[in-house]
């Protein structure tokens, strides 16, 4: 058990340091964590992401608390949440001390420029894998077949939501309603 707490702390500290650019940047790390440790299933993780999106608070914190809680109950939630903010907390204090006035630190920022395409590619790989995972299913012979119900829901949701400003709450509500209707009628 102690080892589990330590691993949680280690993994979430890494996310705190390396997930750059908002809550969604943590997703590739979480899916990687899922594959590596199997603390929760892919479906559970996707559910947790959905809940983190529609509850108040920074998405990154929500996801850390939730995945920590799912893995190792209350103490797990505390460890993950503390770990994800720990390094940035001290870095922010150091920077706040160093600069009485903040200016563009050219060198640091140019590195971050280069990291953005990497963060985008990381998220894209997760997006592609999840999309394939969602609209296909495996039958008894483990042959891949298309899950037409999911494909139809995907198309129905994609068309309106790609035209408007991103609205996580509405997108998730529509998915829930669509899921209930499609799954119970067909």
């Amino acid at each position: 058990m102690l080892k589990l707490y330590f691993l949680l702390f280690y993994e979430f500290t890494k996310i705190g340091i390396f997930a750059l650019g908002g809550g969604y940047a943590a997703l590739p790390f979480l899916y990687y964590m899922q594959a590596k440790y199997n603390w929760f299933t892919v479906d559970e993780l996707t559910n947790m992401i959905a809940v983190s999106n529609i509850t108040p608070g920074p998405i990154g914190i929500n996801m850390a608390t939730y995945t920590g809680f799912t893995t190792a109950k209350f103490l797990g939630a505390i460890i993950s949440t503390v770990a994800i903010v720990l390094v940035p907390f001290f870095m922010t204090i150091i920077i706040t001390r160093l600069f009485t006035k903040f200016q563009d630190e050219k060198c640091v920022c140019s590195v971050f420029e280069g990291l953005r395409p990497a963060a985008c590619a990381l998220l894209a790989s997760i997006g592609i894998k999840l999309l394939i995972d969602t609209i296909t299913s495996r039958n008894e012979l483990s042959a891949i077949t298309i899950d037409y119900h999911a494909l139809i829901l995907f198309i129905i949701l994609l068309i309106p939501f790609s035209f408007f400003k991103k609205n996580p709450l509405l997108t998730i509500m529509a998915g829930a309603v669509g899921g209930i209707i499609i799954r119970s009628l067909f």
Binding site: T55, N62, I84, T96, K101, V111
Partner: protein, 183 residues
């Protein structure tokens, strides 16, 4: 400027945390209202500068800005109160919801709802990729970097940490080469 009490710092960031919905950028108007206009803990210029700077510091932007404002007001303890305040609502609500959900997840209607919600999550991720792409993949260099990383990731299960470290090196070297060319 009146000195803020530690409890007030916690309280204000708790209230801000409670109102953060839909990610990232909504925090700026909230901070402007509570921290700049009502309390003078940061000036508007400091807020704008720090927001720009926080894009270049690892970590959750809301947490970093809270830390900065707390530190400016009451030093280390202030920073601690601020980060605790912004994290607390998330923590409480998620733990409560996790308990409720684990009790009802077996019901078919809840299962069906979450089946549909998974499709929504895919769409939200795709839309985020689209936004990120528009902001970050805009030159030969970024396009090449993006393609190589994506292809590698689709074939092999590489650790995201490794990808970020390697990309930082590549970006640093590329930046230096470009500087020399311009000089």
């Amino acid at each position: 400027m009146k000195k803020a009490s530690l409890f007030e710092i916690f309280k204000i960031f708790f209230i801000i945390g409670l109102q953060l919905l839909g990610g990232g950028y909504v925090i700026v108007p909230l901070l402007k209202k509570y921290i700049v206009e009502e309390r003078n803990w940061l000036t508007e210029e400091e807020l704008v500068d720090f927001y720009a700077m926080s894009q270049c510091i690892p970590g959750i932007i809301a947490g970093n800005i809270a830390t900065c404002a707390g530190y400016r007001t009451r030093g280390f303890l202030g920073a601690l109160m601020a980060i605790a305040g912004i994290v607390a609502p998330s923590f409480i609500i998620i733990i409560a919801l996790a308990n409720i959900l684990s009790g009802i997840i077996e019901y078919p209607v809840v299962q069906n709802a979450f089946w549909g919600i998974r499709v929504s999550v895919v769409i939200l991720i795709l839309l985020t990729i689209k936004d990120l792409w528009a902001k970050s993949v805009n030159s030969k260099f970024t396009y090449t970097l993006f393609s190589i990383i994506l292809i590698c990731l689709l074939i092999l299960p590489i650790s995201p940490t490794l990808i970020i470290i390697l990309s930082a090196f590549i970006a640093l070297i590329y930046g230096k080469i470009k500087e020399q060319k311009n000089a």
